[in-house]
Amino acid sequence: MSGPIIRIRGLCNAFGDQIVHQDLDLDVDEGEVLGVVGGSGTGKSVLLRSIIGLNTPAAGHIEVFGQELTGLRGDTRRRLERRWGVLFQDGALFSALTVAQNIEAPLKEHLSLSRSLMDEIAALKITMVGLGPEAGSKFPSELSGGMRKRAGLARALAMDPEIVFLDEPTAGLDPIGAAAFDELIGSLQSQMGLTVFMVTHDLDSLTAICDRIAVLAEKRVLAIGTMADMLQQDHPWIREYFHGPRARAAGVGAGTNGI
């Protein structure tokens, strides 16, 4: 496939009087890790939800895998949805199912595999995301926050998707856990050739694994590019974000643009 894997043109989103997005354009290339940043209330999560179809935009076009999403229904839509995985904040695991059953849920829904193959795939995904085999039979309420995120990622990867959407994957994790999670996403991405769309506030993740960064502000994508590009930007919010005290602490731009 040529061209971007996700292509958004003229996206508008509004809730009542409040306009969240206006004429928003964004391209995501195949195989890249795109980090989406922006202040609170700039519609990062709304953008993610619009792409995966949980939110119907007021206007605009969203193409994923070269197919227009708006107005797509039924089987065609389901076939497309099988090709991406979503990790919600805090995992959003089904609380009535064990971790292994959570991973098997999409497999059961979409495919007719044998019991043993499904159990093996679930076990494989559990170890792939760095959980021990004992986690399989546990219920989500018995897991720590970091383990829940890993389990959520395992479920997102159950159908071997081509794109994974991550909503603040490292929020609420301790720095060591967050770094380990970054590394996990990076290694899975390179092994499986995934495209990763990641909403995040974690400057460490942005430097560690994102190929490009998109900044949402003023109801659109204000800037998109590599970390080096971001450091060159003059917009006050972007300067504040990437040159602020937290950015310095995270070592952003160290050696290139020390202030």
Binding site: T98, L113, I121, A122, A123, M128, P133, S137
Partner: protein, 377 residues
């Protein structure tokens, strides 16, 4: 478009079997590939070569299928070799096979008989536990109530009025409709029986006695238990899940005073009023039915009603309402505070709140009957 699905072809070449894998070995084709792999059954001592050079795309499920298939073919007398894989496919297969560790899907279930006995014991202990902690909760609420009465400013009138609207005014339509229909049904059913003795006029006695003494208050209580008891449990339960109750305690606020008391007090005020409405509506339904089916005009109905029942009969129904209200609200709040863990727990506790409060209301009603009989009412 060319067919890109994953395929298996096996060819006997000399004394060995060559299996050519081609196309896209992806999760979408896993079901058919699994079956095709299981059908391969070469003679026991024939060496097998699996050729991966035709593979187009490979994902982790495909890699696992290849690993699994080759391991199934491997035996002491038969060698299996993988060949021709692209570097990235070989890596993926190696990684997948290296990572895999079998795991439990569900917690082990154990022996059925032992589970049965264990559950019996657990339930018995839970009943005792619940009785003890519910009693403690009643005590705690009473103490908090008395303390609040000493400092009336601590009674939250705003919260009380909000709950009065939610549990009282908003319940009016459904309570009225149900009682109206019950009045109609009562008259219709008893008219059929009493006409056979020529005693139609006693339909009114029957209706008034049963509605005013028992049916009005009992029906209203059951509706309110289903509407408001469950709402109390679910509201407080989800606050508990989101640590709001803990936050209150940490801020030095008393959850019983803030959440439980207003609910109990408002329901105790509102339920007698609802019962009054229910009584009126049931009698109205009955009067209309009398007029239609028995030709008893409304003025005759009223006359008969006044001679059939006296004021104490009416009060006997109303006086029970605050007690029932207390039971319903206490159970709902208590079960809400018992929520822990997951969203499932909110559902379980809400169900328990409704079932327990209806049960308690009926038990209390039986006790009231005994007491009133002793008092000769």
């Amino acid at each position: 478009m060319t067919d890109t699905r994953g395929r298996i072809e096996s060819i006997s070449a000399g004394n060995r079997l060559e299996i050519h894998l081609s196309g896209r070995w992806e999760v979408g084709y896993a079901a058919e590939l699994e079956i095709a792999l299981a059908q391969l059954s070469p003679p026991v001592d024939q060496p097998v070569l699996i050729d991966l050079s035709g593979l187009d795309r490979l994902d982790t499920t495909g890699a696992w299928l290849i690993h699994r298939g080759s391991e199934a073919l491997r035996s002491p007398r038969r060698s299996v070799t993988l060949s021709g894989a692209r570097a990235e496919h070989e890596q993926l297969i190696a990684r997948v096979s290296g990572l895999y560790q079998p795991c439990e899907i569900q917690p082990p279930a154990g022996n059925a008989l032992i589970r049965l006995v264990a559950r019996l014991g657990e339930n018995a202990l839970t009943v005792l536990d619940t009785a003890a902690s519910f009693t403690a909760f009643i005590g705690l609420t009473t103490v908090t109530l008395l303390r609040s009465l000493l400092h009336p400013r601590r009674l939250r009138f705003n919260a009380i009025t909000v709950h009065m609207e939610a549990t009282g005014i908003n319940a009016l339509p459904i309570v009225s409709l149900i009682s109206f229909l019950i009045g109609i049904v009562m008259v219709y059913q008893s008219a059929f029986q009493l006409t056979r003795f020529g005693a139609q006029i006693f339909v009114i006695d029957l209706l008034a006695f049963s509605v005013l003494r028992e049916l009005g208050v009992l029906l209203t209580s059951i509706v309110v238990a289903g509407r408001s008891g469950s709402a109390f449990a679910a509201e407080i339960g989800s606050m508990k899940l989101h640590e709001e109750i803990d936050a209150m305690r940490a801020l030095g606020m008393d959850p019983v005073e803030i959440l439980v008391l207003p609910r109990i007090l408002s329901l105790m005020v509102v339920l007698p009023l609802l019962v009054f409405t229910a009584d009126v509506m049931a009698l109205l339904g009955g009067a209309i039915m009398c007029w239609i089916s028995l030709d008893i005009a409304p003025d005759l109905f009223l006359q008969r009603l006044r001679s059939a029942v006296d004021l104490p009969t009416f009060w006997i129904g109303i006086v029970k309402a605050p007690f029932f209200a207390g039971l319903i609200a206490l159970t709902g709040c208590y079960e809400g505070l018992q929520v822990s863990g997951s969203a499932e727990s909110v559902g379980q506790r809400t169900t328990r709140a409704v079932v327990e409060s209806i049960f308690l209301v009926i038990v209390a009603d039986a006790l009231f009957s005994v007491v009133f009989t002793i008092l000769g009412l």
